[in-house]
């Protein structure tokens, strides 16, 4: 069968089971958009290429399947750089196809030419510049393989226009030949046995669970491990939902804005069983003072994470799900099997005491009648049907989202953790809703973030993707404001955004959304209930929240996790 390169690309995507692509056409990618008309693949026309990338990420995070974006060359490729960097940091499998100028024009500074593979080299797991149409099926097969196996991540395929037009003989590769890419999947049995023994001997163990548990679909295995060992779990920002918040042994989020118990239980632990987490600086605080008495078991599929920040006593390279399963078996075998697990009741009693004394707290009935953002998130969570997906931007609202939403299912928290990309929420939510049309999708967003990517609500309206946006409008770049208040003597520099410029209700309506405005606590629940009933178009609910509200607890930058600032409701530092 003779096909053009463009036809081969679309057919290759179909072979990979691609149902939907997010994109925006342009000059160099024009040939690809023609066969797309005849393909069953759904194309979602975004309003900015950054939106296409984040939608692909939201789709991937919600479904555990690779998200696909197609954009043209030059500025389109550079516009999708941010989502690539974001996906690289958060290990999100996305495949980005970029158009490129014709091979004969590469290097001549042609119109809309950019060195896309060069620019994206350090923010992709791998990228390819296609030189001949016959390479397309092989490269697409390799691209999906690399994106979705090992530590997942973004890949990019740069496709010159003349290659898209070139004729080729269709084939589909029966195997992948990448001699330099063989991820280690299975943990070393001896290390797993040693880990099992260490777990039995620990008196103050904590399961430090990261996003890798969600990526490797290890949540069931994790549940079984907890059931067997009774070890409490902290779920990092990337792992919210990996273990249900409703479980009594779930301690919630650790780190800079984690709750006191999650932070302190790690800090006082004698064994951190680290599963698919990477000792991020937002989790550890000052590394030299982090969990000083803890031994470390570190399980990760990426060997480079082991020992990168904190030396592991037992490093295990492998797929987290498989290693947990092996670990559960190893607990009953060999030396570990002969040992009786240490009694954890004193440890758990200590944890309960912390939970009782230092819960998450905010002013429930403020005398001035202002609307507290935490109350909005709490109400949203309580009124959302089970399994609702929450997407988020980056900043205060993200932390409140993570703190006050009850996460009980994996793949229900779609956020930008590592890169901290403002504006992620709206396209992230749209991608998630496209991937999981059966689920309600809310986004919690800030006014700063909203203004970065709001145009994608036009995409959502025109494509009938009924996402719901809870816009926490505090008229400020709130997190920056918080730092300026706390660390720069309340000298507010360029953080004020205004509550009513733009008029968010008018703007949302102009974009084809239903828009509601909420200014007092009594209006919160009715507005959310109303939004929950709308299922044929996007909804924006603007909540005018108290701009003075800060995120607590907080471990200041550079401090150790022993110095948790619980905020004014607890009388400050502990």
């Amino acid at each position: 069968m003779r096909l053009t390169g463009a036809q081969a690309l679309i057919k290759s995507l179909e072979m990979q089971g691609t149902e939907v692509v997010f994109g925006l056409p342009g000059g160099a990618i024009l040939p690809v958009y023609d066969p797309l008309i005849d393909s069953p693949i759904r194309h979602i026309l975004v309003r900015h290429e950054q939106g296409a990338g984040h939608m692909a990420e939201g789709y991937a995070q919600a479904t555990n399947r690779p998200g696909v974006a197609i954009v043209t060359s030059g500025p389109a490729a550079t516009n999708i750089v941010t989502p690539l960097a974001n996906a690289y940091m958060d290990s999100v499998p996305i495949v980005v196809i970029t158009g490129q100028v014709a091979t004969t024009s590469i290097g001549t500074d042609a119109f809309q030419e950019a060195d896309t593979t060069g620019i994206t080299m350090s923010i992709t797991k791998h990228n390819w510049l296609v030189k001949d149409a016959s390479e397309i099926p092989r490269i697409i097969a390799e691209a999906f393989h690399v994106a979705t196996t090992g530590r997942p991540g973004p890949v990019l395929v740069d496709l010159p226009k003349d290659v898209s037009n070139q004729m080729m003989d269709w084939y589909w590769p029966t195997s992948i030949d990448l001699p330099g890419y063989r991820p280690t999947i299975k943990g070393h049995p001896r290390s797993v046995a040693a880990a099992a023994k260490m777990i039995k001997q620990a008196r103050r163990p904590i399961l430090y669970v990261g996003g890798g548990v969600i990526r490797s679909k290890a949540t069931e295995a994790l549940g079984a491990l907890v059931a067997k060992t009774n070890i409490p779990v902290v779920t990092t920002l990337m792992a919210r939902g990996a273990f249900p918040d409703d479980h009594p042994l779930c301690l919630g989020m650790p780190g800079m804005h984690g709750n006191y118990t999650a932070i302190t239980s790690m800090q006082k632990s004698d064994l951190l069983i680290t599963l698919g987490a990477r000792f991020d600086d937002r989790v550890t605080g000052k590394v030299s003072g982090f969990a000083p008495e803890a031994k470390i078991i570190h399980v990760d599929i990426d060997p480079a994470e082991l020992g990168k920040v904190r030396k592991a006593d037992i490093p295990i390279v492998g797929d987290v799900r498989l290693v947990i399963e092996d670990l559960i078996e190893a607990l009953d075998k060999g030396e570990a099997g002969e040992q009786v697990q240490e009694d954890l009741s004193a440890w758990i009693a200590q944890i309960r005491e912390w939970q009782d004394k230092f819960p998450l707290r905010y002013e429930k009935d403020p005398t001035d009648g202002t609307l507290k953002p935490q109350f909005v998130v709490e109400t949203l969570s309580s009124l959302a049907p089970p399994g609702t997906i929450l997407a988020s931007g980056v900043g205060q609202h993200q932390m409140w989202g993570s703190q006050y939403w009850r996460f009980n299912d994996p793949n229900t928290w779609i956020n930008s953790g590592g890169l901290g990309t403002m504006g992620f929420a709206i396209p992230g939510a749209i991608g998630a809703k496209v991937g999981r049309p059966d689920k309600m999708v809310w986004a919690v967003d800030g006014d700063g973030c909203f203004q970065m990517t709001a145009q994608e609500l036009v995409t959502a309206a025109s494509e009938r993707i009924p996402v719901k946006i809870a816009l926490l409008n505090n008229a400020y770049l709130g997190m920056v404001r918080q730092w300026q208040e706390m660390f720069y003597d309340e000298r507010y520099s360029e953080v004020y955004l205004s509550p009513d410029l733009p008029d968010y209700v008018k703007w949302a309506e102009a974009m084809g959304c239903v828009a509601l405005r909420v200014e007092s606590p009594e209006e919160v629940a009715p507005a959310i209930e109303k939004a929950n009933e709308i299922n044929d178009r996007p909804v924006v609910v603007e909540f005018r929240t108290d701009s003075r509200e800060k995120v607590f607890p907080m471990v200041a930058s550079g401090a150790t996790n022993d110095q948790v600032d619980l905020g004014p409701l607890f009388g400050g530092d502990l």
């Binding site: 593979t117 060069g118 080299m121 350090s122 797991k125 791998h126 510049l129 690399v146 196996t149 090992g150 530590r151 990448l178 001699p179 330099g180 890419y181 063989r182 991820p183 280690t184 599929i301 990426d302 060997p303 480079a304 082991l306 020992g307 990168k308 390279v317």
Partner: protein, 194 residues
């Protein structure tokens, strides 16, 4: 990556350190012979904040592969990290850390030295002692070539400096593990992972 004039290239012992507190490690990296691979390796070093001290690249006997010999300046604690990061590059097949004590190392030096009637014979004598070849002869200049261990090149450079070096170029070094005489293997070969 070429060094001009100053020949101060302290050769560290394995695990030892030179005066500036960094160690030299030799990594022999087998990569796929594809466009852009060198850029990927070089960018990885720069992106992670590691300094390449010298670099030599050439295809192997199998034209599908190239070998990079990278001499890196770093603390030994970070060597493991850079090796692991290098392994993550899809085009990297195998990395061997070569222990300088258990390896033969060679580097090529080309130097243009100024001469006059008096110094010419002295320079030629030095060249003879070191086994350097005369590649080119001008009225007031000589071009010499010396292929030897980096230490010998340092010594040679030091000695010809007195005559006036017009220009000097060195390649990065290439290295191979010493042949086994006792059955013990040299170098550490690490497995490939994601």
């Amino acid at each position: 990556m070429t060094s001009f004039g100053t020949s101060v290239i302290p050769m560290s012992m394995p695990g030892g350190k030179n005066t500036s507190g960094v160690s030299h490690h030799v990594l022999s990296v087998l990569v796929e012979n594809k466009a852009g691979v060198l850029a990927r390796v070089a960018q990885l070093f720069s992106r992670r904040g590691y300094n390449i001290y010298s670099l030599a690249v050439a295809p192997t006997d199998d034209e599908n592969f190239s070998r990079l010999t990278v001499v890196v300046d770093l603390e030994s604690a970070t060597l493991e990290q850079i090796t692991k990061q290098l392994h993550k590059l899809i085009n990297v097949i195998k990395i061997t850390e070569i222990n300088p004590l258990e390896a033969v190392q060679q580097e090529l030096l080309l130097a243009i030295v100024s001469t006059d009637a008096q110094s010419r014979s002295q320079i030629l004598e030095l060249a003879d002692i070191f086994g350097a070849k005369v590649l080119d002869v001008g009225l007031e200049r000589l071009t010499l070539a010396l292929a030897d261990s980096p230490e010998k090149l340092d010594d040679f450079t030091e000695l010809i400096k007195g005559f006036g070096i017009v220009e000097i170029q060195r390649t990065g070094r290439v290295a191979l593990a010493k042949l086994s005489r006792s059955g013990s293997r040299s170098g550490i070969t690490k497995g490939k992972a994601s």
